[in-house]
């Protein structure tokens, strides 16, 4: 895997976790839609990106899944955040904020001392 995918996967995982935290249990399609909406339709998720990320999170124990019925009565698999996932989300949110803050400093107008 290239570095770029790694970063993307890591970021995607964070987005998935955040989405599940905000919306509660949700199926893959719902997650994809929500992420696309939140990004202002600047992101587009296909299967190949979303489902491996979901599987990985599930194997790591951050999310759990079970089959249920969607709003318009389709059978779908619903994902929910586990306790491990909640902790992971907190931790990664913090790291992410820290990282972006650091990067942001490089781009903000110089406040040299």
């Amino acid at each position: 895997m290239s570095d770029k995918t790694d970063v993307w996967q890591g970021t995607l995982a964070l987005m998935v976790l955040k989405t599940l935290e905000t919306m509660g249990p949700q199926h893959g399609y719902g997650i994809a839609r929500r992420i696309e909406q939140t990004s202002g339709d600047r992101l587009s998720l296909n299967y190949g990106t979303l489902y491996p990320a979901l599987l990985k999170l599930e194997q790591e124990g951050a999310i759990a899944s079970e089959w249920g019925m969607s709003d318009n009565n389709r059978k779908a698999k619903f994902y929910r955040l586990t306790r491990v996932g909640r902790r992971q989300l907190e931790q990664e949110t913090r790291s992410w904020e820290q990282a972006t803050a650091i990067v942001a400093r490089f781009f903000s107008p110089a406040e040299e001392t």
Binding site: Y47, Y51, K77, W96
Partner: protein, 910 residues
């Protein structure tokens, strides 16, 4: 910064486990993945429809956005499990499919390997128990067997006073113990019976770290002379005689007429056999031994010892220390201890020393068998990969990596090897039991031999190694090929080089089989030579047993005792089929490992100051009929008669070795000897033939060979039968030695209900027992050699068949051009004979080297090869003929097939 968000190791580990579980089936099914993606797609289409698209457009847009369903499924599947394991599973499935397509090939390979691995597993399980774990006690490496080395005995018995002094003076042992085997007569507890037991020092069980299952062990000073009589019993006896009653402690056991208080029970798991010690039913403190000679520092009473080295003390240090201790005692007690030293050797050597070399020979032999089996398999794999060269050439041409192909072939060969190993394990389980049943007496700890986890590991590893190692060569050959050449040649590529490799493998097999056959042949010839060896007496028709004679007031005087023994003889003589009877009052039945000695000096010599400077001879105290029983030839003078009585001048009879050693060419009859037990002068009245006392094959290797006979009827000064009763060995000559014993036992019991005859054994059986280890190695070597011959023959057959199969066309052309069938037949046979011949030549040279090694391998003081020369021409010639005949027979079948080829049909099939 490579990752903005670091990965946690625990999370990775968890994911790994889940994926591993996924391999084992606890994963999302492909179906489930497809269902989830499909539901996603449907929801997307639903939304698109709601946005006003047509059904067709909605579906198209959704598919465009979502990307390839198939790739996603593939990614998910890979993520679901571990890819390399998935590949392995794929390879395995493919291998199984391939093998199922050629069941004959698979069956031959698996059977071949099963035979090879089976014999190795069986033998390894023996070696594992006997050589690797011979002592089932804590810290066995610290244990040493202790004996006294004296001029006539390398490992002689330790006298009780010396034991006490060694115990006190040594600084090397954390403990030193002694034991003395004894047969006890148990009376008063059910039917009278004979129990094997040991007189032991108190230190024995603590030293061996054996804990009682009930009660206590002997207290430290409880083994001294004059202490109260106590006894420890074995768990087996406890169960048999007392129903494992826990209230047994304090109860009385009457042994040899004395009352012993039971203080504890020794666990059945305690299992040790070395020197004269064996795990038995009865243990009595050594101080209870009734023989007054116990206090005699110079007495050789058959007491031997065992010690535990202090931590950190080496054997060499202990030897030096004990030498100093013995030398000091020799200075203080020159009369008894002159020339006497403690002799130490690791307990392990004492237990397995005799069988170790033989087991190693057998291990080498099965190694050869496995090698031959593997060579066969490598040959078959080569042939098979040649047949599949096309297939792999195509795959290579289509871009398969060489690594992948090698891996695939290795998977196949490893699978075969593991299957062979599994089958071999079953064979081994059966074979170990069968081979041990042949000769249980030949091996220490035979009962403990089983397929332990270590053995299973051994089999698994050996199978794995065989699969990989012998699969690698053929696999590499296939993978290294140039596909274009193979494809051009239409499947016959690389055949030249491959034939050469196969030829060499067959030559090797033939040579190895020959070496094994020669080895087996020599052991068989040795055993035949031994079965013809003359022990100095006629064993056929002789029965030996022991008799425990109880004390009674009537036998307390010498006359009473003689009358009693006369009556005993009369009763036994009266049993139908019995021709002659003789007591052997102090034991020493030939070839049983028992012996008794006479110390003496010649008439013209001064009395030596200490007994180790006296002459020693093997002593037999017998009755006049002894020669008749044993059919030992009388060479000069006379043997004893009923007229030799206590009040007539003492007489002795000697054997020819005695005569030669002490009188050279002079006539010994009429010469006088000074005897010591009791001190008296005795006249030699006759000379008889020498008897092999120590063993058929190793008698000459013992320093003490001269033999002297004394008569029971002249007594040895002890008077009547002692209060404890006495035990004598008895030999009889009968028409039916195998079946006469019950009659004798009841005749003896009718005379006195407390009198027990026990331990019957025919002399033939005793001789067979002495050869047990030899027979064990002969049977196993023979079986291994037969197996090697079979495998090598199958190998040769396979190669020639393969050759014929490959050359069918060539032969068809030959025949079409006028060669007759006999020519073709000869050509094939010649080819087979050439291979076999080269193998035989190489094998003969190897055999000459190997048998010379074998001749140096000894079985209890005598060479494994006995009575034949290592290069024995009969064996060599016989083996070569057998091998060539079998080889030609193996070639004949494919040769016939070749000769019966119909040229027209063979050529048309191209």
């Amino acid at each position: 910064m490579r990752r903005l968000i670091p990965h946690s190791p625990t999370r990775n580990l968890r994911a790994f486990w889940i994926r591993l579980l996924g391999l084992l089936g606890a994963r999302r099914s492909h179906h489930e993945i497809a269902a989830e993606l499909d539901s996603h797609l449907q929801m997307h289409i639903d939304d698109n429809l709601r946005a006003g698209m047509t059904q067709k457009e909605a579906r198209r847009q959704a598919l465009i956005q979502l990307g390839g369903m198939e790739q996603t499924q593939q990614t998910l599947r890979e993520r679901n499990t571990l890819p390399w394991a998935e590949t392995l599973a794929q390879d395995l499935r493919f291998a199984v499919r391939q093998l199922r397509k050629s069941p004959g090939f698979a069956a031959v390979v698996i059977t071949t390997l099963a035979l090879g691995i089976g014999v190795n597993t069986a033998l390894f399980s023996i070696v594992n128990t006997v050589l690797l774990h011979p002592i089932a006690l804590p810290r066995p490496a610290e244990l040493v067997a202790v004996d006294a080395s004296k001029p006539n005995f390398e490992r002689g018995s330790i006298s009780y006073p010396n034991f006490r002094d060694w115990q006190r003076d040594n600084r090397s042992f954390s403990a030193l113990a002694v034991f003395r085997h004894h047969g006890f007569l148990l009376t008063g507890t059910g039917e009278s019976e004979r129990l094997h037991g040991e007189y032991v020092s108190s230190s024995l069980f603590p030293l061996l770290e054996v804990k009682p299952v009930l009660g206590r062990l002997f207290a430290p000073d409880e083994d001294e002379i004059g202490r109260g009589p106590v006894v420890l019993i074995g768990q087996g006896l406890w169960a048999r005689k007392f129903g494992s009653d826990p209230r047994i402690l304090g109860r009385t056991l009457t042994l040899d007429g004395g009352n012993y208080s039971i203080v504890g029970v020794i666990p059945a798991a305690f299992d040790l056999k070395f020197s004269t010690f064996a795990t038995e039913d009865i243990y009595v403190p050594i101080g209870q031994w009734p023989d007054s000679a116990l206090k005699d520092r110079g007495a050789g009473l058959g007491i031997h010892g065992v010690a535990r080295l202090k931590p950190g003390v080496t054997l060499a240090q202990a030897r030096a220390d004990m030498n100093a201790v013995s030398d000091h005692l020799a200075a203080v007690y020159p009369e008894d201890d002159h020339g006497l030293r403690a002799s130490l050797r690791p307990l392990r050597d004492a237990i397995v020393g005799n069988v170790q070399p033989v087991l190693l020979v057998l291990l080498a032999a099965v190694g050869f068998v496995l090698l031959i089996a593997c060579v066969n398999v490598a040959n078959l794999l080569l042939a098979r990969s040649n047949a599949r060269a096309q297939e792999f050439a195509v795959r290579l041409a289509l871009g398969a990596s060489r690594k992948r192909i090698v891996r695939q072939l290795l998977t196949e060969s490893t699978l075969l090897a593991l299957a062979g190993g599994a089958l071999g394990l079953a064979l081994a389980a059966w074979g170990t039991g069968a081979s041990l049943k042949l000769v249980p007496a030949a091996l220490p700890r035979a009962a403990q031999i089983h397929l332990s986890p270590l053995v299973l590991c051994f089999t698994f590893l050996i199978s794995l190694a065989v699969g990989i190692f012998f699969g690698l060569f053929p696999a590499w050959r296939v993978a290294a090929q140039q596909p274009q050449n193979t494809l051009k040649e239409g499947g016959r590529g690389m055949s030249g080089a491959r034939h050469r490799a196969q030829d060499w493998l067959v030559v090797f097999e033939m040579a190895a089989a020959l070496v094994l056959l020669v080895g087996a042949g020599l052991t068989i010839r040795s055993l035949i030579a031994l079965s013809r060896a003359d022990p100095g007496f006629q064993s056929q028709g002789v029965l030996t047993f022991s008799l425990a004679v109880p004390y009674s007031p009537a036998t307390s005087t010498e006359e009473g005792a003689f009358d009693y023994l006369h009556e005993l003889d009369r009763r036994m003589d009266g049993v139908p089929g019995v021709h002659a009877v003789s007591l052997m009052a102090d034991g020493g039945v030939p070839l049983t490992g028992d012996d008794d000695e006479e110390l003496f000096w010649l008439q013209n010599e001064p009395r030596p100051s200490d007994q180790n400077d006296m002459h020693w001879a093997l002593r037999y105290i017998v009755e006049p009929d002894y020669l008749k029983v044993m059919r030992i030839p009388l060479l000069r003078g006379r043997f004893f008669t009923d007229a030799d009585l206590p009040n007539t001048p003492p007489v002795v009879v000697i054997d020819e070795d005695f005569a030669h050693q002490f009188f050279g060419d002079r006539d010994p009859v009429g010469q006088v000897l000074n005897l010591t037990d009791p001190d008296q002068k005795a006249t030699i009245v006759g000379v008889v033939g020498h008897v092999m006392q120590w063993g058929l094959d190793n008698d000459a290797g013992f320093p003490l060979r001269s033999q002297i006979y004394r008569s029971v009827t002249q007594g040895n000064g002890d008077g009547g039968i002692p209060v404890a009763g006495f035990t004598s060995d008895i030999v009889i000559r009968a028409d039916n030695p195998e079946t006469v014993f019950p009659d004798i036992r009841s005749a003896v019991r009718r005379m006195n209900a407390q009198q027990v005859a026990y331990g019957p054994k025919t002399m033939d059986q005793i001789i067979a027992d002495t050869l047990a280890a030899r027979r064990f190695s002969m049977i196993l070597l023979g079986a291994f050699a037969a197996l090697a011959l079979l495998l090598a023959t199958v190998g040769l057959y396979g190669v020639i068949s393969y050759l014929v199969g490959q050359r069918t066309q060539e032969m068809a052309i030959r025949m079409a051009l006028g060669a007759d069938r006999a020519n073709v037949l000869r050509w094939v046979l010649r080819r087979g004979a050439t291979l076999a011949g080269i193998g035989v030549g190489a094998g003969t040279i190897a055999a000459l080297l190997v048998t010379r090694l074998m001749a140096n391998i000894s079985l209890a003081k005598s060479s494994l090869i006995y009575g034949v020369r290592p290069w024995d021409p009969v064996t060599m010639f016989g083996v070569i003929v057998v091998l060539m005949v079998v080889a030609l027979a193996a070639c004949y079948v494919p040769a016939r097939r070749a000769a019966s080829v119909d040229p027209v049909r063979a050529l048309r099939s191209e």
